[in-house]
């Protein structure tokens, strides 16, 4: 119970923020916020030693009778993500305290969104129910939207926020469709139960659709090609947000989803191919274009895209293990381990790099790498952290990135060995692509670190005079950079407590317990192909870096028109402008036109339905007989209606209308409805008085010289409605399929309701609700009329309004 409720701790705490921010404004709000992720990280850390004892489940019943509940399911994978979310969260909040000025910024908003995100993200990784997973998933999109648009006065922030929202929510909706198909096929919404039924689900005819739809959700969220375009624009968010959401946690939700569902879908070759291909392409694309960027955070954004692709590719390769015999002993076992390992490493080095980019921005006033340079001597600590982070990302020892990069190359090489699903044809290409991407990764890492901190100093031209950041701002990146180094030396400790339990969750078919995962990571194990590849990467990468200035302009050859961003912009414009054009075609703003559509449509559907349902089966039996009196009233009614038309003066029209009303009252008399007759008579009298009073002030009954086509069109529609109503009345008269429900009223009116006039008893008793609401409507009409007459602007106010 505590476990599941703790998911909501951040958002509940967030409710206190406005008060804390207002009452205790001397203290930076971040200090209070810091408590939450810190407490949570301690809580989740307590699970680490005992996670081998199996998943921990805790359910909170929301509406028990409807079986609405929220379940927190902590296994190795969820725990690892929860720790990342709360751990990086703690560091980011700490960093933000120094990054965001407590006087200038709206801190309560910022931290509210951040805490909301924390709850959402914890919900995503701990939910066992597909729908609650989806809801939390969309909540991360929303909080990401709010955080990107945090500086909402900047155009670019709003644009970036909207872009991320459009793309991730599109993916989320697709994913929801996939979830529904999945739950339909599996008969349950619980992910655990679905995994248990995976063999029946695989037989579903919609199996491939589920894969495609769910992967769309994962790929948009995790910024895979070609959906990655939102991530660079999301860099408009404050840097703590970029470090937290857009590199360490939210973008890994897609990774989480793929990892979580691997046991379910990896049976399918489509799954493996989609995930591997998208990962490899994204890896290459991101690293290749990272070198093009000139904004520090832009480089990091593309590198994040590329690294996410890398993890994705490894997860795809992890699925292959299901298709080979005893994979535990072979090269195929590495991919899942490598994916999780790199996920952790990426969070550490990329988090620190983002924080450094933020520090550089904060201290120099610019993030443009063309203006930066030579900061090493001014900001030695920042430089050290940046160097550690970059070299780790480049995959060099003695940093954790080296280890996971080696494992990555291993798992890519494993694809070469795989025979099924056409991998024998395409498999050998993949390690080459990975290798080339690694070279570009190496290049952009050096590019990032060198041109910021070394090279020719243009320090005087910077907007601000740079100096080392305050120590508080440096704490978080220092902790992360320390981890980068520490993990290199103790990879197997990390492996035992964090990675292997997570691998067990990804590949439950292969292992019984996390200790069965027999992978031992070491920095050096002979001159393997992996090591040779790394050496190649370093050599060629270094050459490319040295010649960078010569070939970097080649990027400008790519025409802007062909970019994915341009495609997105055009689609948005299409949706915006063209849909407006289309709706303006018929949304004229004139009620008359809308009424015309409605009347025509009613005519068409009613007559079509009558036709379709064989409603033209008229019978003229069982009708009341026609008397002379009735004929006279009919004649009067028709004549007075015609008079209304022909009337040249208001008075004639009103009196004719009154005559129509009185003849209707006469019909009520003839057809044994005394209550109606009485009411109609009185109403008609009052109405005529009312019309006369109002028309006293109104202009002549003009026809405004309506043109002939206008009249013809109106007449045709009116004729259609008239014919439709006549047909409807005849049809209803001819086919009385059900007896009137009034018999009940007739039987019980005296015994149950104590009355004799059935109509009145229906009004005040049987259908009293109608009457109650009717008099309410009547009162509202009265008040509205009173308001229209009594509340009006004086001449003076009107003048001033017009001038505005």
């Amino acid at each position: 119970m505590t476990q599941v409720l703790l998911i909501f701790l951040p958002i509940l705490f967030a409710l206190l923020l406005p008060m804390l921010h207002k009452k205790i404004s001397r203290v930076h709000t971040g200090w209070f916020v810091l408590l939450v992720p810190f407490a949570l990280v301690l809580y989740y850390a307590s699970f680490v030693p005992k996670i081998g004892d199996g998943p921990f489940t805790s359910t909170f019943y929301w509406v028990k009778s409807l079986d609405l509940s929220i379940t927190s399911h902590l296994d190795g994978l969820s725990l690892l993500f929860s720790l990342l979310i709360t751990g990086i969260g703690t560091l980011v909040v700490l960093y933000s305290i120094f990054y965001l000025d407590k006087k200038k910024e709206q801190l309560h908003n910022f931290y509210f969104y951040l805490l909301m995100f924390m709850t959402a993200m914890l919900g995503v990784v701990q939910s066992d129910h597909l729908i609650s997973l989806y809801l939390f998933w969309e909540l991360t999109s929303i909080s990401s939207f709010l955080l990107i648009a945090y500086w909402y006065k900047r155009d670019k922030s709003r644009f970036g926020a909207l872009k991320s929202m459009m793309i991730t929510v599109f993916g989320g909706l697709m994913m929801l469709g996939g979830f529904l198909l999945l739950a339909n096929a599996g008969g349950t919404y619980s992910i655990r139960e679905l995994i248990a039924n995976s063999s029946t689900i695989a037989e579903s005819p919609y199996f491939v659709w589920m894969i495609v739809l769910i992967l769309l959700g994962a790929f948009t969220k995790s910024a895979q090609f070609p959906f990655y375009i939102w991530l660079p624009d999301a860099m408009e968010a404050p840097t703590p947000v970029s470090a937290y959401l857009h590199s360490a946690t939210m973008v890994k939700a897609g990774i989480y989803l793929v990892a979580r569902l691997t046991p379910l879908f990896a049976i399918s070759e489509y799954w493996i191919w989609f995930v591997v291909a998208s990962g490899i392409i994204t890896l290459f694309w991101g690293s290749f274009f990272a070198v093009k960027q000139t904004d520090l955070k832009g480089i990091l954004a593309f590198s994040t895209v590329s690294q996410l692709g890398m993890i994705m590719a490894m997860l795809g390769a992890a699925g292959i293990a299901l298709h080979v015999d005893s994979p535990q002993q072979t090269i195929f076992a590495f991919a899942a381990y490598a994916a999780i390992f790199h996920l952790i490493n990426h969070a550490t080095f990329k988090g620190s790099l983002f924080m450094i980019a933020g520090i550089v921005d904060h201290e120099t006033g610019t993030r443009d790498i063309r203006k930066l340079g030579g900061l090493m001597s001014l900001m030695p600590i920042s430089f050290t952290i940046a160097a550690i982070g970059s070299l780790s990302m480049a995959g060099l020892p003695p940093f954790n990135g080296f280890l996971s990069k080696e494992l990555f190359l291993t798992s890519m090489l494993s694809l070469k060995e795989f025979e099924l699903f056409n991998f024998s044809t395409w498999g050998p290409i993949i390690p080459w692509v990975a290798w080339i991407a690694s070279i570009f990764t190496f290049v952009y890492c050096l590019y990032f670190a060198y041109y910021t901190f070394m090279g020719k100093g243009k320090v005087d031209k910077l907007p601000k005079k740079p100096h080392e950041a305050p120590i508080g701002m440096l704490i978080s990146p220092i902790i992360l950079a320390t981890l980068v180094v520490v993990i290199f030396f103790i990879p197997n400790v990390i492996g035992k407590y964090f990675i292997k339990p997570a691998v067990l969750a990804i590949q439950p078919q292969l292992y019984n317990a996390s200790s069965d995962v027999a992978i031992h990571v070491q920095a050096f194990h002979g001159f393997t192909p992996e090591l040779k590849m790394t050496i190649g990467v370093v050599l060629i990468g270094f050459i490319l870096f040295l010649t960078l200035k010569k070939w970097q302009p080649l990027y400008q050859l790519q025409p802007d028109k062909l970019s994915l961003n341009n495609l997105y912009d055009r689609m948005m414009r299409l949706a915006d402008v063209d849909s407006k054009k289309i709706s303006e075609l018929y949304m004229t703003g004139a009620i008359r036109h809308y009424l015309m559509y409605m009347f025509s449509f009613i005519v068409v559907i009613v007559i079509a339905t009558l036709f379709w349902k064989d409603g033209f089966n008229f019978s003229f039996e069982n009708t009341a007989k026609i008397g002379l009196f009735e004929i006279i009233v009919v004649f009067v009614l028709v004549a007075s209606t015609v008079t209304v038309f022909a009337a040249r003066t208001r008075l004639t029209a009103i009196i004719a209308l009154g005559a129509v009303g009185y003849s209707v009252a006469l019909f009520f008399v003839i057809f044994n409805a005394p209550d109606l007759a009485l009411t109609q008579l009185v109403i008609e009298t009052v109405s005529v008085a009312l019309f006369l009073l109002a028309f006293y002030h109104l202009p002549k009954l003009s026809r405004h010289e309506e043109a002939m086509p206008f009249k013809m069109r109106n007449f045709l529609i009116a004729l259609g409605v008239g014919i439709m109503v006549t047909l409807l009345a005849l049809s209803a008269q001819s086919q009385k399929l059900i007896p009137s429900i009034s018999q009940y009223y007739k039987d019980t009116v005296y015994t149950e309701a104590g009355g004799g006039n059935i109509v009145n008893v229906i009004l005040v008793d049987y259908r009293g609700f109608d009457t109650l609401f009717e008099i309410t409507v009547l009162s509202i009409a009265g008040m509205a009329i009173l308001g229209m007459i009594k509340l009006r602007l004086s001449k003076k106010e009107k003048k001033s309004n017009e001038n505005e």
Binding site: G754, D765, G768, L778, S779, M783, I785, L786, I789
Partner: protein, 140 residues
Amino acid sequence: MKMNNVILKTTVQVSFFIIFLFSIHIFLAGHFAPGGGFVGGLLTASALVLLLLTYDIKTVQKLLPINYMMMTAVGLALALGTASISVFFGDAFFKHYFSHFEIPLLGNTELHTAMLFDSGVYLVVVGVTMIIIQSIGGDE
């Protein structure tokens, strides 16, 4: 709106009371014979309209100083209140109660909570109709 019509004024003095009393009768009889809150209310209102047409608004306001907005509000409250009485007795919303009583002069009479509801309807109908007529008629 001022008319100086002696014949109208003289007849209205009599006919107003006739119409008014008739409307009360119609209203009270509603449960067993044609009539009820709607018709009764409208008839009362039409009697008042007749007064308004004959004399002007100010005179009528002096004669019958009624706040019709208040009347409408009271009517709505009465109707809603009657409908909710049953809730306090553990019955469904809108359940009516009735019983027969021996009342002096009237004899055996049925008393019914629906009557209270209908009074609410009556008040609302009179109130709203008069609000409408007075607003338009009183406007310059």
